[in-house]
């Protein structure tokens, strides 16, 4: 039996005098098997966090059905809340308590016996490498440490599913890597995770299946390898340039170029440069042929990058937009 089932979930936030209603989720369905690590990958505003909020009972769904370990959201909220744990995007540790106390109190909220909650707090503090911070207040911890304490807190009541909402946003690369290792370790022990993220590397590295979410819908859902395989061509060639005329028709005629997509400019791109993404079958002379076509088109080529396809390429292929906008 699936640990979690989401069927045709919709959520529309009602409008106000100044703002129109927002259709954040427009019919999302998926299920998660026990022990699975599922990712919802998409840009900010895609509806990932709202979907997570609906599962956790903190957001009231407009339509659809969510069942967590046999308990249905809306009918048995307490049952749902016992079965899942949430690591929210916003760090919301109890500021008045020490790290150890806040774990123990969390266990108390869920009715754990005194000896049990003390033992679990000790074990989880060790497990998440924050034992040395047991007596500290959360405000004195680094972002990565707070994040690990939030995971420890989430695990106190032994949930069936853990929801992670953008867990590494705002962390430095080192803290991010440490958190990834921690999550992988916990997952190997059989914990079920659902993660939202807009970092494709994170989804690629942690998740067994990834749903690509955009504008409140799931565009595709599969293993990262299968998603990347679904792209035309074996490699991706990105070209940044200034072109007086559209180059795509000319490039499409080049042998070895399977598909071309114009990528909308995003913050990360150099200012005003046009970006073309070529899905290519690498072969002898391919780069030469592409460069000749660019030169003949009168374009001023500034930057080239040849890479293995990533989940971001899948996203761009599906939406025509970059992930970080």
């Amino acid at each position: 039996m699936s640990t979690l089932v989401v069927e045709n979930l919709t959520k529309t936030y009602p409008g106000t005098r100044k703002a129109p209603p927002v259709e954040a989720v427009r019919g999302i369905s998926f299920s998660v098997e026990p022990g699975e690590f599922l990712g919802l990958l998409g840009p900010n505003g895609a509806g990932k966090s709202t979907t997570l909020g609906c599962m956790s009972t903190l957001v009231r769904p407009t339509g659809g059905r969510i069942v967590v370990d046999g308990a249905e959201v809306g009918k048995d909220p307490s049952g749902v809340k016992r079965s899942l744990a949430v690591v929210p995007q916003m760090r919301n540790l109890d500021r008045e308590l020490t790290v150890r106390e806040l774990l123990v109190f969390h266990g108390r909220y869920f009715g754990l016996e005194a000896t049990e909650r003390e033992a679990r707090a000790t074990r989880l503090l060790d497990d998440l490498q924050v034992a040395d911070k047991a007596g500290a207040k959360p405000a004195t911890l680094s972002g990565g440490q707070q994040q690990r304490v939030m995971i420890a807190r989430a695990l106190m009541h032994d949930p069936k599913v853990v929801l992670l909402d953008e867990p590494t946003t705002g962390l430095d690369p080192q803290a991010r890597r440490l958190l990834w290792e921690t999550l992988q370790r916990l997952h190997q022990r059989g914990l079920t995770f659902i993660l939202t993220t807009h970092y494709m590397e994170e989804a690629d590295r942690l998740c067994e299946r990834v749903a690509i979410v955009d504008h409140g819908r799931i565009l595709t859902l599969d293993t990262p390898a299968a998603l990347k395989k679904s792209l035309p061509g074996a490699q991706v060639l990105d070209l940044w340039m200034r072109a007086p005329q559209p180059l795509a028709p000319r490039l499409r005629a080049v042998t070895g170029v399977l598909n071309i997509e114009a990528v909308e400019a995003s913050d990360g791109d150099a200012d005003g440069l046009e970006r073309l993404r070529l899905f290519v079958e690498p072969g002898e002379g391919l780069l030469d042929r592409v460069l000749v076509a660019v030169r003949e088109g009168g374009a001023d080529l500034r930057h080239v990058s040849l890479s293995q396809p990533s989940l971001e390429d899948v996203y761009i292929h599906l939406t025509g937009r970059g992930l970080r906008e």
């Binding site: 909220p77 809340k81 540790l93 500021r95 308590l97 108390r108 009715g111």
Partner: protein, 255 residues
């Protein structure tokens, strides 16, 4: 129920740690006011010596109201302006209504403690000045303090859920300040007969009933509001604010 008691335990644990600050915040104002109005002004002959006795229950009422409102309002405003610590409570196996009622009960404990500390402190102070003795009816005082605490906390919940966090500071100047002046804390409602039917407007102020409840219990010999009206006001406002506050809380907490 387990989750409810656990949340209450957490709130009382934290409140106990902050007790010195809470006491300071609660006691400073009434003690200084009693000193001025119960001691200095009577000596100068500017007010009658009994004025201090009129003020003791009123100042207790203010202490209860302010502590109850602050005990609920401040965490609420912080939560809604960004810390979202409330989400952990909402994710505990308890209904949203349960989370809200726990907030009211915790605020009421806060308020009742303030009343129980401020009252005897002022009574001792009055006794020390030799201006008069106050002998409260404890059997009446304790349940009244409990109800008034709940009323104050539910009022704080209503304010906290209706007001934008950035206007929270304004509340004290625009709402709570006038409430204290027109809440029968410094004069008995019964004696407002002098100002005519306008006195019924004072019944819109929940502090009026808290003041009168304290007056009935602390200085029963002084003129006070008829008991049926007093009880109707206390329970009426308690039910109204609990209803408005819990409804608004759920609206803001669950999107």
């Amino acid at each position: 129920m387990t989750a409810f008691l656990a949340l209450l335990h957490r709130d009382l644990t934290v409140a106990a740690r902050q007790a010195p600050f809470l006491l300071l915040a609660t006691l400073t104002q009434p003690i200084l006011v009693i000193l001025v109005f119960g001691n200095i002004l009577p000596r100068l002959g500017l007010v009658s010596a009994t004025f201090g006795i009129v003020m003791v229950p009123g100042l207790m009422a203010i202490a209860i109201l302010m502590a109850g409102v602050q005990g609920v309002l401040m965490p609420l405003v912080q939560d809604f302006s960004g810390t979202r610590e409330v989400d952990e409570r909402l994710l505990a196996p308890i209904s949203v209504f349960g989370v809200t009622v726990e907030r009211i009960v915790a605020g009421a404990v806060h308020a009742a403690t303030a009343g129980l500390v401020a009252g005897p402190a002022m009574i001792l102070l009055m006794h020390g000045t030799g201006l008069g003795d106050v002998q409260p009816r404890w059997a009446l005082l304790l349940p009244f303090i409990a109800i008034c605490g709940l009323l104050s906390a539910s009022f704080g919940l209503t304010l906290g859920t209706q007001v934008q966090p950035r206007f929270a500071g304004l509340l004290f100047a625009v709402v709570l300040g006038p409430m204290m002046l027109f809440g029968c804390a410094y004069y008995p409602w019964a004696q407002l007969k002098e100002i005519g039917p306008v006195r019924f407007l004072f019944l819109l102020n929940p502090l009026t009933f808290v003041s009168e409840a304290m007056r009935l219990a602390v200085t029963p010999e002084a003129p006070h509001m008829p008991t049926p009206l007093l009880l109707a006001g206390l329970f009426g406002w308690l039910v109204t604010f609990t209803f408005l506050g819990t409804r608004a809380f759920e609206k803001r907490a669950i999107l």
